[in-house]
Structure formats: C-alpha cells, structure tokens
C-alpha cells in the first residue's frame, strides 16, 4: 500500500534528521509543557483578556527559547519562565495606552470590610462578607484586577495568587524589596476599592449578573 509506505518513509526521514540541535529543541517543548497552563493563567491575570494572554504567552515562549542559556535550574524552571513572561508583559504594557481605569487611590481610608457592613447589600445574610466575595468568579475577579495599576497588580498577583515572597518578587520584577512592599500595600487598597466598584457597576449586588 503506497500510502502507508510513504508515511513510513517520511517518518524515517524525520527520525534521521534528529540532530543534536533538534534534540535540544525537543527538550524545550518538554521543558515548557508542564508550565503552559500556569503561564496562561498568570498572563490572563496580568492582562485581563484571553486573546492578549495567548499572545503574551507566545511572545514569552519565543523569548524563552532564545534565552535558554540563561536558565540555570532546569529542574525548576518556573521562576525563570515567570521572569521571561514578566519582561514580555512589561514591554507590552509600556507600549500600550495610559491606564484610565485605574482605581483612584485618593481615599486611603477606604475599607471594604466597613463599606460592606454599612451598605449591607445582603440584608438577610449572616455571612455578608463571604457572600460578597462569592459574587466573584474567576472571570469577574480577573476583570476587577484590571482596575489596579499594572505594577501593583503584578506584585499582588505574584504574592497572593502564586505565593511568591516580597524579595522573590523584587528579583522577578527587577526592583527592590522596599518597592515591592509599597506596591503590595497600595495594590491591596486598590483591590478593595476595585472589588467594591466593580460589583456596584456591574450590578453584581442586585443579582443582575449572578449565575
């Protein structure tokens, strides 16, 4: 059967072409695979849109392939991939327009805890604060995060979604631990306000967007 013979021929030719270079490229795929879902989820938190997240991961992968020489720990490449993705993200966000949606930070005294108690959006609830957080599924939370200043959002996501320590975030984002701590502080304040404003503006409190 000519067709299957062709297939075998192609397969053999392909095997024959597996030079050392191809092998190292193949190991790149093996290196990336276990971290693809993480990279995508992380990118989505940073940029808020699926299409952009996919672009960002692709951009990061191209950079990672080129920069493979700088990867010291092949056993645990996740922080390295994270750093490559962050550099792709930082170049992109620098290119993009100003961040009109950032939550205004003037009111440093804003407390989401107190606001919920005062506004009492669920009068019949005995777990008001948890009910409020339950309004946020993954997509809503990702959307609310986009209202936070990019540098603060990045620190917040690294610290509280992925569990990096402040000094590790400093290393990943090429800054000092002091700057990271300041960004986390402001990021938390912005997050409280972002969650409240997002819920109000999207009608989550009235049950308009509840599933």
């Amino acid at each position: 059967m000519p067709r299957s013979r062709n297939k075998t021929d192609t397969g053999e030719r392909h095997m024959g072409m597996q030079t050392a270079a191809a092998e190292s490229a193949g190991s790149f795929a093996a290196l990336v695979e276990p971290h693809l879902v993480y990279l995508y989820a992380f990118a989505l938190k940073l940029c808020g849109e699926h299409a952009t997240a996919e672009d960002l991961v692709q951009d990061a992968l191209v950079r990672a392939l080129r920069a493979q020489g700088s990867l010291r720990n092949r056993e645990q490449p996740r922080p390295w991939f994270t750093k490559v993705l962050l550099s792709a993200w930082s170049d992109r966000s620098r290119r993009e327009a100003a961040h009109d949606q950032d939550v205004a930070l003037e009111d440093e005294r804003f407390s989401l805890f107190d606001t919920l108690a005062e506004e009492d959006p669920f009068p019949y609830s005995d777990r008001l604060h948890l009910d409020f957080l339950d309004l946020f599924d993954d997509a809503n939370l990702t959307a609310a995060l986009q209202r936070i200043h990019p540098a603060h959002r990045t620190a917040l996501v690294l610290a509280y979604v992925y569990g990096y320590k402040a000094r590790e975030i400093a290393e990943l984002t090429d800054t000092t631990t002091g700057t990271v701590l300041a960004r986390l502080h402001r990021g938390r304040k912005q997050l409280e306000k972002a969650l409240w404003e997002y819920a109000k503006q999207r009608g989550l409190l009235k049950g308009e967007d509840r599933r």
């Binding site: 191809a22 490229a25 193949g26 790149f28 795929a29 990336v32 695979e33 693809l36 879902v37 993480y38 995508y40 989820a41 989505l44 938190k45 699926h50 996919e54 991961v57 692709q58 992968l61 191209v62 392939l65 005294r109 407390s111 989401l112 805890f113 604060h129 948890l130 957080l133 946020f136 993954d138 939370l141 990702t142 917040l156 996501v157 610290a159 509280y160 979604v161 992925y162 569990g163 402040a166 986390l184 502080h185 938390r188 997050l191 409280e192 969650l195």
Partner: protein, 77 residues
Amino acid sequence: MIACREAVERLWTHLDRTLDGTREEELEQHLGLCRHCCGELEFAKQVRAKLKETAETPLAPSARERLGAFVQRLSNK
C-alpha cells in the same frame, strides 16, 4: 495601644508573617481587645483565599491546543 487604623494597616503583613517583633506584639494586643479588627482580620484571610483560588484558571481546550502546537512549531524550528 495602637489605633484601629494602624492595626488594619498591619493585618496583611501579619498574615504574611513578616511583621517585626514589636509591631506584631502591638497588633496582637490590639486584636485581643478589638472585635472590629478581628472582623477585618477574618475578611483579609477570606480575600487572600479568594485570590489563591484563582491560581489555576482552566485553559479552554482550543487555546491549550493552539499553544501546544505553537510550542511544537517553535521546538522544530
């Protein structure tokens, strides 16, 4: 004793276990006497848990496939 505002400012750092000794002691003393700030502390834990929950956003199978194919193309270049 430190004021509520000061206590609330320290809650996340307390949960990160990075408050220094004196500041930690002052906070604990405050929490021992202030119900409001205990509520704030509980809520801070819940917000943090909410963030952590989203670590593994499921990837749509079509996007997974496209990225997988992209990695393969990249590897074979």
